[in-house]
């Protein structure tokens, strides 16, 4: 009975998150539309000045624009196009935004996932080694190393990656690693200092058993929350890294769009990244709630 209640509670929570995501998606789309609509230069077509276009064609272009002049009409057209998967056309690249996103998202996705894997592995390993050794020299050197990495702008890390010819995911990993290492270390220290861990140790339980049975179940929910946050850090780091390493991903696309003031492109890229982040955070949140429930 209790199990069923828990499952129903979890289902309600998931449904609420889904509804929240949907509302945010709609809100984000409307906000994006507003940004595009009120951006300086909106509605001015470069093609109108092209002498090769006939008077009828220019008039047809203007008519098409007039249809979307009212704000309500603009929102309606934008949302109906969005519902059909049409995110508009890039001003600078003259290609559909949806097509550009489909091309670029896998590259960034791969780099981000690999970079996160690298960062999590390194951070967890170094934090665990620090706890196992408990030596001041190791602690001081690992803290100094992560502080040094934390003080480097991600664009400088990208330049170093170009110079050392390392893959993009390594650079993303180097940017994310110090943030994870700091948090995981303090979380593990706090978990190991709990009275029940001391009691388990006093009873003669092995370090492996203490970690798997007493430390990990309690540390898992905040670690899952951190996983969601680390996605946002990795995507943010992808902009300078992809731009400077010449990797054809979303980060590079966003940078090019910002440099050429291509608002339909940058706004839609940001919207898609925002939705990906929210989905990742919601999944991490749900998994954390499930784990926390089972631990209790």
């Amino acid at each position: 009975m209790i199990k069923e209640e828990k499952a129903a509670k979890l289902f309600r929570h998931a449904l609420r998150r889904l509804l929240f995501l949907f509302c945010l998606g709609i809100g984000g789309a409307l906000l994006s539309a507003t940004l595009v609509r009120f951006a300086p230069g909106y509605g001015v077509q470069e093609r109108e000045l092209d002498p090769r276009w006939s008077a009828q064609s220019v008039e047809a272009l203007r008519q098409k624009q007039v249809l979307r002049e009212g704000l309500a009409s603009f929102y309606f057209h934008y949302l109906s196009a969005l519902a059909h998967g049409d995110l508009g056309e890039s001003d600078s690249l003259k290609r559909p935004v949806g097509e550009l996103l489909r091309q670029r998202l896998p590259t960034t996705g791969k780099s981000v996932v690999r970079g996160l894997g690298f960062a999590w592995l390194a951070a967890a390993l170094l934090a665990s080694l620090g706890l196992a050794s408990r030596g001041w020299l190791y602690e001081a050197s690992s803290t100094a190393f992560s502080s040094l990495l934390l003080s480097l702008p991600s664009a400088v890390v990208a330049m170093l990656a170009v110079h050392l010819r390392t893959p993009v995911f390594c650079a993303i990993g180097v940017v994310v690693f110090p943030r994870l290492h700091r948090y995981i270390r303090s979380l593990l220290v706090r978990s190991y200092d709990q009275p029940y861990v001391l009691a388990a140790r006093a009873r003669g339980l092995g370090s492996g058993a203490i970690f798997w049975r007493h430390v990990l179940p309690v540390a898992a929910p905040p670690l899952l929350a951190l996983f969601g946050v680390s996605f946002a850090i990795a995507f943010g780091a992808a902009i300078p890294i992809e731009a400077l390493c010449d990797s054809p991903g979303l980060g590079q696309l966003a940078w090019q769009a910002a440099l050429s003031r291509d608002l339909p492109l940058i706004v839609n890229v940001t919207l898609v990244v925002c939705l990906v982040m929210l989905a990742a955070n919601s999944l991490a949140d749900l998994a954390g709630s499930t784990l926390a429930g089972s631990t209790q």
Binding site: P40, L150, S154, A232, I239, P240, W255, A258, V273, C274
Partner: protein
């Protein structure tokens, strides 16, 4: 304060002194070109050498330090003020206002910070005068960098809201605005300071990233980010290692800010 924190504070004070005295210490105006000595190494005339356009690197570093170290705290002050206003009002008033503020904060926090900055920067003209580009870059950071602090301040305000002294003040007939300004805000002052200090290194690094990408401070105005743009040219960097000085200074200052930061109990 530990000895390490004292050392960090001393380094920061020295850097700030360097920033204040930049006008006296600079050997030449930051934009002046010595066209006969481009890419020169260190010499008595140019202590850190010159860049590819023949501009004195030391002058550019001193002025760049002034730009970055003057405006990053200004942006941090602005973002902390916004966070303090929103966070304390949300925590104090509660209800739908708190829910809306926290939902907006969650939405902004889930979005990578640089994507947000790039979107807003793309809406502004790119060919702005250098001085205006400095103001735009740091104003943008100040106006968009309040989200993380809002959550912390809101949670702390909720804690203060339930305290006995506030109950006493309320029963004495204090108005909500007076409660917020005279009783809640003074109790949150250490937290405001902590959030302010946390934001400074973040804004210094963000400016560096934006300027390296060509979306921050515009040439010829120097900033730490602008000076780091020369790093792409590795052969000349190897020929003149003095070009690493801006990066070393940036890393030292950011590390010092991290060391001087108040304890974790205050910031979380």
């Amino acid at each position: 304060m530990s000895p390490l924190q004292k050392a960090a504070a001393t380094i920061l004070c020295m850097t700030f002194a360097l920033m204040v005295l930049a006008t006296i210490l600079v050997p030449a105006p930051y934009a002046r070109q010595f066209r006969d000595v481009p890419n020169a190494g260190p010499s008595t005339a140019h202590l850190l050498g010159t860049d590819a356009l023949g501009r004195d690197s030391l002058s550019r570093l001193l002025y760049g330090t002034r730009v970055s170290l003057l405006l990053a705290p200004a942006a941090a002050l602005l973002s902390t003020l916004i966070a303090a206003l929103l966070g304390s009002a949300a925590g104090f008033l509660g209800g739908w206002f708190e829910r809306i503020v926290l939902a907006v904060t969650d939405l902004s926090l889930s979005l990578p910070w640089l994507f947000l900055l790039l979107t807003v920067r793309a809406m502004l003209p790119l060919d702005v005068p250098p001085m205006l580009s400095v103001i735009v870059a740091f104003l943008m950071m100040g106006l968009l960098g309040w989200q993380a602090s809002v959550r912390v301040i809101c949670a702390a305000t909720r804690g203060v809201k339930d305290s006995d002294f506030l109950l006493l003040a309320r029963s004495s007939g204090c108005k909500p605005s007076r409660l917020l300004l005279r009783h809640v805000a003074p109790n949150l002052r250490p937290l405001f300071y902590a959030q302010f200090w946390i934001s400074i290194p973040l804004f210094i690094l963000t400016e560096a990233n934006l300027s390296i990408l060509g979306l921050g401070v515009m040439e010829p105005m120097p900033s730490w980010g602008n000076l780091l743009r020369g790093f792409e040219d590795f052969p000349s960097l190897a020929a003149n290692p003095c070009r690493l000085v801006p990066l070393i200074l940036l890393v030292i200052v950011v590390m010092c800010f991290q060391l001087v930061l108040p304890s974790q109990e205050v910031t979380q």
